[in-house]
Amino acid sequence: MRSRGRAPASLLDRYVALFALAVAAAVAGNPVSSALAGLAGRVEVAQVGPGVALVVLAYAGFVAAARAAGPVVVTAADAAWLVLSPLDRPGVLGRTGRVLLLVSVVVGAGLGLGLLAVLGAPDQLVWRLVAALVLGVSASAGGMALAVLGQASQSWHAWVTAGLVALLVVAVVAAGGQARGVLAAVAAAPLSAVTATASAAALASTLLIRRAWTALARIPSRTILAASTRAGHVATATVTLDPGALTWIAEDNHWRARNLRSRPWPSLSWPRSAGSPSPAWLRIARRPGRLAGPVALAWQDWVRAARRPGRLAALLATAALPAVLAGAGGAPAAVAASVLAGALAMAAGAASGARRDADNPSLARLAGVGHRQALAARALLPALLSGVWTATALTGLSLAGRLPAGPWWLFGPLAAPAIAAAALRMARRGPVDHSMPVIDTPGGAIPTGPLIWALIGVDLAVLGSLPAAVALVSQPHEIGGFLAAQAALGVAVLAGYVHRSRVA
């Protein structure tokens, strides 16, 4: 019995597949070969460390994502009918295994090319390219095999965690420049050493894949079912093309598994001075729905953030990435984009309350807080976090000598209101509008609905931090004017967004 009742491929199927591959090779051949030719030669030694750090981080991200996904998952139907049956387990899971291998090969090829671009090819470009591809594919396939082994046994799971930590340490050391001598030696390594390394990696990877293949039979059903249920949710969200649903699945799963302890809300009332009447502003602030109410409502986001200190610390640690990217030879525009993306990601992660109220306003109605006051209060945490992140990232760029002298870090707090407004706009966006037209281009059809959905929020972030972005790209020596413009624009964008917002 087969888990898939598919007919074997006919001669015509094989011809179509081969023809498609030939056409793809003919179309992509020229640009790929010219790009590969650009890899020949030595690279600047100072750029090797940050570049290697980025490649190592990408690899760690791939292994972490594989482990988070399962990685061994099956469809809901197979999970219901085949996993809990006496069928041969490798037979049931064989197709999943082949898909995982294919994914590893594609990702590994990308990693190998990235590694070659970072280390350069002083001689024998073709052979070094082959070695880099073998190394990349071996690493990704080996990493995937480790993730599968981790799903099968707890001890392997611990090894994968240790490996991820080790990769992070390697990335930090490489980015920090302490291993410059070692990396320079690696970049200039003779072809024989590179070949030996690639062969050893391929051998180790093959052994791990073999072991993982036999471990498929030992993966407990409950872990496959749990991963498949998770994948089922992801598939549903993908089929209905509502990526916002994914965030809630991850969020709800996280909190369901946590042991929490209720804490009282902080007192938001100011002490009354005996005898003398309170000033007008204090009386207004004390009135429900004016200040205390919205701040109390927004406090939920602060509680949530404080309950995930590890996530917060990891996100703050990513503030070093723009400096690493600049060190690896990234163009100023790419560095500016990474700063903007990081700031927006930081702020968007702290806007869950606004997102939930936009999805379902029942609790917001029960709270009875004006939506503008609530939005203004909910902008505080995203503004604080994105401000701190951006200031840290810009300080890192200054310390690394990637920016001219000046108080560049000030762009962080000054752009924070605009970034917070963008995060709130992103959090409050509705589902994807699939009735939008699909534009046919020579490169393929572009559905405008998901595209516009993805740009909601990003648009306001770009607009609101334009002075900072222009300064980062042009890198002027005098930034006073840019700072003043950013201060005015940041506040104006947040005020304008809150004022023009409508009830969700």
Binding site: W265, R304, S352, R356, R365, L366, G368, V503
Partner: protein, 209 residues
């Protein structure tokens, strides 16, 4: 004669071309407990949404506290609506959702401790709402609605998921709410709850019992 809290005159609502409510007239005074009764699809929930300002009328007028209901903060500070299960805030426990309501409104009708006791949630105060059973989540929703100060309660099938014992207790709590000056309009299929209230059938708008 007291000014009515709710005044509905000749209300008609069509959804997708189908008449859901037709020529309904209803007046609810202060401290009244009104139960909207009738079979599924008779327009009970639609009427509640009209009273909450969430469903525009096709014709007729709806007035709550002497003005058309509006979906804004001033309205929701006087009115508590409980319909389908709310989306709980991530990262908060059941008890903290009640804390949030207390902190937002400043002067609650009862303390969080009292609400947890009254709605039999003390043991589950530290659990995220999604880890509670259906009935416990409904009790939490009711606790949030009754903890906060309000003048009008709009409840859509508040008995959903509740055991028989707690339904009886809910009836008492709602009666106490009206004794304290509040007004309750609820859609219900529970004969016990409906028996405590003035019953209205939205299908013809007349007093059924």
């Amino acid at each position: 004669m007291c000014e009515p809290i709710i005044a509905v005159h000749d209300l008609s609502v069509e959804l997708g071309g189908n008449p859901v409510l037709s020529g309904l007239t209803l007046s609810v005074g202060p401290s009244e407990l009104v139960a909207l009764v009738g079979p599924n699809g008779s327009g009970k929930s639609t009427l509640l949404r009209c009273l909450a300002g969430l469903q525009p009328a096709t014709s007729g007028t709806v007035s709550v506290f002497g003005a058309p209901p509006t979906d804004d903060a001033a309205f929701w500070r006087r009115v508590a609506l409980l319909g389908d299960e709310p989306a709980w805030y991530p990262g908060l426990t059941a008890g903290e959702h009640l804390e949030l309501m207390r902190a937002v409104h400043g002067e609650p009708r009862m303390t969080v401790e009292a609400a947890l006791e009254l709605f039999a949630l003390r043991e589950r105060a530290d659990a995220p709402p999604l880890n509670l059973s259906t009935g416990q989540r409904q009790r939490l929703s009711l606790a949030a609605a009754l903890l906060r100060p309000s003048s009008l309660l709009l409840l859509d099938e508040p008995e959903r998921g509740l055991d028989a014992g707690f339904r009886e207790r809910l009836g008492t709590l709602l009666s106490e709410y009206t004794v304290g000056g509040g007004t309750v309009v609820m859609a219900t299929h529970d004969p016990g709850l409906a028996g405590r209230a003035r019953q209205v059938s939205p299908t013809d708008g007349r007093v059924a019992a």
